[in-house]
Amino acid sequence: MSEIKLEHLVKKYGDGFAAVNDVSLDIRDGEFMILVGPSGCGKSTLLRMVVGLEDITSGDLHINGERVNDKAPRDRNLAMVFQNYALYPHLSVYENIAFPLRLQRSRHPEPEIDEMVRRAAGLLELEEHLERKPANLSGGQRQRVAMGRALVRDADAFLFDEPLSNLDAKLRGQMRTEIARIQRRLGTTTIYVTHDQTEAMTLGDRVAVLRRGILQQCASPRELYEQPVNLFVAGFIGSPPMNFLPGRVEGDVLHLPIGDVPLPEAARAAATGHDLLIAGIRPELFEDASVLDRSRQAGGVLVDLDIDVTEWLGNELYAYVPYEPDPAVRAKLDELDRDLDGEGMRTQLVVSLDAQSRVRDGDRARLWFDPARMHLFDPESGVTLTRDEEVAARLDAENEDLRQGSLERARRAADRAVPA
């Protein structure tokens, strides 16, 4: 049972560079919190501040209500899985897992250590490898040993620093599920650092998005996806990423490079006072009009576009439409691209269509989308103009209810398992 509270945490280096700048987070008991952002956003530094490997320049860190700023890592009772696993090369898998137990001051008797190691190894399916040295293990096995070392002790929280980034795609998917399963089962508070938005979305109860040391938004995956607070979060969450199109407002009409779109009812108030906006449309909002139900077409608009390249993936089809961006917003979009670790490639619209679509390279295709689900951003500040706080709050509350429910279930299951 543990809560971790970050209050205005700052990490400044001697040259004045703030790697972490005034981050406040309230991580609830049993919660799976993700810290996500592009490289250099300060997420790893923040995690290392929590575990005690980096000094805290200012701000307070509380674990279970106790201020731990000045405590050594070993006194914080947190377990961490390092990016490169940090397995002790001279110790066997067994001894690696037993290592933290042997260090604990209330010494465990040997049979107890053995039992705990074997239980952790069983949980991670490492039983056959206990006598091997880390050098003789595959990447996935090493990863599991690192996790074993973390969960063998009764730590207050698990911290993960990009634990899957050294694995290949398939294994990454498997381990991701495994981590989720173990965390749900143990119900241990977890902080997980990643740069991969898929990991963030699938694992997290809540996700904290960081950019250049500053917390942008901390919310449930669903809220991040549907109600992002700004351009950065909107662009970071979702794959393929959201399309950002410059739009000029003229009365109730928004002129986009792909065509004119009527401003939806809800967006009109947000658009007032702006000549120029950035419209964000997720690729999956588009549909191929030729395979779309007539009945659905009513609510949306139709645009005719020249398709440059298509990629058929079996379950869906990506189509790319290059366009020239408005010079007035170009700088803002370029900056956003850099923040998102982009390569400054051509500006193009990405649409994700139904796999039934017969659109091919070079076609002129008629696409449909619903402007009501379009996001509008202030081109200067990047703030989302169409964000609905009410909806966001509802999503948040729903998410917390669901989380509590599943945590409850997991704990009841664990209680049942113990007497049996």
Binding site: V51, G52, L53, A72, P73, R74, N77, L78, A79, M80, F82, N84, A86, Y88, P89, H90, F99, P100, L103, Q104, R149, R153
Partner: protein
């Protein structure tokens, strides 16, 4: 076709390997064979003895040459071990600092070690010869241990720095998160990782000190401190008409034994120690 070629190539490389074995072991086999020849057999002008005898070994262990040889052996072992120990301890601190800490002068220390390593020994021995006589270090153990440091310290610093650079130091942090104190992290994680490097460095250092001849012959005059290589040059036959060849060969074999034993036990590590600093830097 391809398979045939590769078998032929395999045989070729195997023959090459055999040639290396002969190359490396032939002179050693010769000196061993020589040491086993009876005195009358020494000049038989053949590779192998016609009559085996342990006479030469008796000569250096219990006979006339024993006084010279046994004291030299004692000196060599003592002086080399002490010099190796001192240089490895000093180098351990230096290499830790070089591999682990950020401070100006790192390169200076490594360059100095390099310069000292290529320094002509004779240029050191001349002034030391004079100085040692004045301050009474001539023909003493410390009188050899100190100059031996000029041989062993630079190589120890380079080899150990190379080893220490490869230690995953973030392990220390992992151990701290796992609940270790600084001291526990050092003792349980770093020491086991560093020990093989330190050990290998000690072996290489020892080889170099063991091999010294210039200091040994220049800075000693009696059995008090003269090491084996120098003593070999002073062997004489048991009588005026008898050659010291047999005794020298036997003594040469004896001082080669520890070297061979160390190589047999640790060849892998020694090769790593000799080369990993040189290529990776």
């Amino acid at each position: 076709m391809d398979r045939q070629l590769s078998t032929r190539a395999k045989v070729g490389w195997a023959l090459g390997g055999l040639a290396i074995l002969v190359y490396a072991l032939f002179p050693v086999a010769w000196i061993v064979s020589l040491s086993l020849k009876a005195p009358s057999d020494l000049s038989n002008q053949q590779f192998l003895p016609t009559r085996f005898s342990l006479e030469n070994y008796r000569e250096i262990f219990t006979g006339n040459a024993s006084e010279l040889f046994l004291s030299a052996l004692r000196n060599s072992v003592g002086i080399c071990l002490i010099a190796t120990f001192i240089s490895v301890v000093l180098a351990m601190f230096a290499a830790y600092a070089i591999a682990r800490l950020e401070f100006p002068g790192k390169r200076l220390i490594l360059s100095t070690a390099l310069a000292v390593a290529i320094f002509p020994v004779i240029s050191i021995v001349t002034p030391l010869f004079n100085l040692w006589r004045q301050i009474g270090l001539y023909d003493t153990w410390p009188g050899l241990i100190i100059p031996y440091l000029s041989l062993t310290l630079p190589i120890s610093i380079w080899t150990l720095s190379a080893f220490f650079r490869e230690i995953p130091w973030e392990m220390e942090q992992a151990a701290q998160v796992d609940g270790a104190t600084n001291w526990q992290a050092f003792r349980k994680v770093i020491v086991p990782l560093a020990a093989p490097g330190v050990f290998t460095t000690a072996i290489i250092s020892f080889f170099i000190a063991w091999n010294d001849f210039v200091y040994g012959i220049s800075l000693t005059s009696t059995e008090r401190a003269r090491p084996v290589p120098a003593a070999l040059a002073f062997f004489t036959g048991s009588s005026q008409f008898e050659l010291p060849t047999g005794a020298i060969s036997a003594a040469a074999v004896i001082v080669t034994i520890p070297v061979v034993v160390l190589i047999l036990l640790f060849q892998r590590r020694i090769v790593a120690g000799l080369t990993n600093g040189a290529v990776k830097g």
